[in-house]
Symmetry: C2
Subunit: 208 residues, 2 copies
């Protein structure tokens, strides 16, 4: 399972497989064929078989994939079995929306801390987690073993928040600020750009 042999495009599809399998599980399905996965994900069955073959033999020829087993394995590849501890920095509207997002819990992430620099927000509770001062980040990060920092602050503060998270030795950053962030190589970053989904929709309705 060497990272360099798996293309970014394949890696990007894994969370989609995981979500699709979770929904199949909710639908009570025991077995799912690559054709059905393809229909649900708008991918070819060949693509799916090729992607999943990279990680080992999860299916049975002529039968399909066992939903529970495949979901477990894809989740393991994605590292969801690590149950990462996440903290959100910036408890404005986006931060509160993220703190309340049920899907994170369904995926096994733990929301362990919330941070802001606004005294009128510090001390409040969102989704049973108390908002702390960003100045407490170093000691809280160590104590609560924060793995992932979510940046939900305005763009002009994003890099300085990233710097503080990096100093606090977090492993990864999930960035919602629309700027290109500077991070060292050993810290992983995923930039979330919400306008990508909207642009995609624009394409579909234009093509009608």
């Amino acid at each position: 399972m060497k990272e360099q042999t798996i293309s970014k495009a394949t890696i990007d599809r894994l969370p989609l497989y995981y979500r699709c399998l979770r929904l199949a599980q909710d639908d009570g399905m025991d077995i799912i064929s690559s054709e059905e996965l393809g229909r649900r994900l708008e991918l070819t069955p060949e693509q799916i078989r090729k992607d999943l073959a990279l990680f080992g033999q999860f299916g049975k020829k002529g039968v399909g994939y066992y939903v529970n087993e495949l979901k477990f394995n894809v989740g393991k590849i994605l590292g969801l079995d690590n149950h990462w501890n996440i903290a959100i920095v910036g408890i404005g509207h986006l931060g509160v929306a993220l703190a309340n997002y049920q899907n994170f819990i369904a995926l096994g992430f733990n929301l362990v801390a919330l941070f802001d620099n606004d005294p009128s927000i510090i001390g409040k509770t969102v989704n049973h987690v108390r908002v702390r001062s960003i100045d407490d980040l170093p000691k809280v990060a160590a104590k609560l073993k924060i793995d992932i920092g979510v940046i939900a602050v305005p763009a002009q503060f994003a890099q300085s928040v990233a710097d503080r998270l990096i100093k606090a030795k977090i492993k990864g950053i999930w960035n919602f600020a629309p700027i290109k962030m500077k991070v060292p190589d050993d810290v992983k970053i995923v930039n979330e750009d919400l306008s990508v989904g909207l642009s995609r929709l624009s394409y579909y309705i234009t093509g009608k």
Copy 2:
């Protein structure tokens, strides 16, 4: 430019190209090579040349792509030159965060209406747009020519909001509720699942 000849994977990369070109433009670049695009997007130059060749001849061999021209053309393919009118339904924390999201405006979308069913929210103003009652949707949709409805309501209300948007003849739905929506074939839908980005980050930090 027939939709059926372009793979979903390619379509999904177009908004990423657009964003990357926008940043290159902000950096003051006039020309960008497929190698540099590849480095920034973590794709191979071959993949980029193949993707962009599908839509015509945008580059000059040995020189690179003209940033402004390529951005303009990718934007046109994505239909961003239509300057779609968008409305958000559900003005909770997520709805407010989306209403304030600057990147939509940068892409040429117009936020024209906000809807909620909570009397304590109706009448308030977010990002210069007044929140209206969801009951006013039919007449407002026709009057303001709403193209895209954004669903930011809790999961249990999402399908009924979708049904109302469809009845109001919108062209596309951008759905943030974590449910599988039923929509007719002539209405396009993009489901946004924020947990995909977080799962991807989990993969990267697991692989270290």
